[in-house]
Amino acid sequence: MSRFRVAVHIVPRKGILDPQGKAVSDALHSLGFDGVSDTRIGRHIVLHIAATDANAANDQVRAMCDRLLANPVTEDFEIATVEPV
């Protein structure tokens, strides 16, 4: 077993109203960042887990997202990095 640091991004699914993201988009526009067309605000979760290899760590975290970390009705997730520690 090795240990891995896995980072996950979870964001509101496309098409689902994200009022927080919209408020931030508006604020960015008022600062002059006119190129911003969409902002979605979610969560960034970092886990340290034991697994046989990076693929197994990835699979474990995917299962965690399916069952708890993300809400399949409203959120999308993306495993950003899997790094040995």
């Binding site: 109203l17 009022p19 927080q20 408020a23 969560r43 708890l68 809400n71």
Partner: protein, 230 residues
């Protein structure tokens, strides 16, 4: 008829629910601790409002793993009534007892107000003492009450008469001002396919006596009394 009111860490409407059932309706009720695995023979389970587990991760996401929830799910599967109010609605969705999810209010603010909901289906165990079109005045108090589901689910809920309550204005009509949280299709309360689980964002247990501004919430409890034999 005996009510069981689940207390999660962070529940704060468990006492209101207990008061509603015992002091107002004169019926027996017990608190069910979230770590318990015994429903103590109750006929109706109330998942009360509050902020179970501090709303960590998502509202209701952690509460559904409490030991008592396994028993609540079994009770629901066997056709037992479950009344999920506010955080209880969020927990019921997270637990898969009801479809959809409750997201941050579209206005981003916590909303504490008395709202009006219209009865859309009076042929349920939670609304049998109402008529379709009746408008009930019931308080809301939530930050995450925006009911959200995909179009297919929403169409199914409407087609099957499972949207029981909708936010409306004083005239009983849907408009842009009557929906306090941006819920899709102005949904305030839905029932499960089998009709025995109600999720509702407004708090009927806080509208039980004229002294507090409205007793319209009694109609929901009285519907249970009329429909559920115990």
């Amino acid at each position: 008829m005996k009510f069981g009111i689940v207390t999660f860490p962070g529940s704060n409407c468990d006492y209101d629910s207990y008061h509603a059932v015992t002091d107002v309706l004169g019926l027996p009720a017990v608190y069910l601790w979230h770590k318990s695995t015994d429903l103590e023979g109750v006929d109706v389970v109330v998942l009360p409002g509050g902020f179970s587990y501090g709303d960590y991760l998502r509202a209701g996401a952690i509460a559904r793993f409490s030991p008592i929830m396994r028993e609540v799910a079994a009770h629901a599967r066997a056709g037992g009534p479950v009344l999920g109010i506010c955080n209880g609605f969020q927990i019921a969705c997270e637990a898969g007892l009801l479809p959809g999810a409750l997201l941050r209010n579209s206005g981003l603010k916590f909303v504490g107000d008395t709202v009006r909901v219209r009865v859309e289906n009076a042929d349920t165990m939670f609304s049998a003492r109402c008529e379709v079109g009746d408008v009930l005045r019931i308080p809301v108090a939530h930050g995450d009450g925006r009911y959200t589901a995909d179009d297919e689910t929403l169409d199914r809920l409407e087609g099957e008469g499972r949207v029981v309550f909708r936010y409306v204005n004083a005239a009983g009509e849907r408009d842009t001002t009557s929906n306090p949280n941006g819920s899709m299709r102005d949904i305030a309360g839905i029932i499960s396919a089998e009709g025995n689980v109600l999720g509702i964002m407004p708090h009927p247990e806080r509208a039980m006596e004229d002294l507090v501004g409205s007793s319209d919430g009694r109609r929901i409890f009285e519907s249970l009394l009329a429909r559920v034999s115990a």
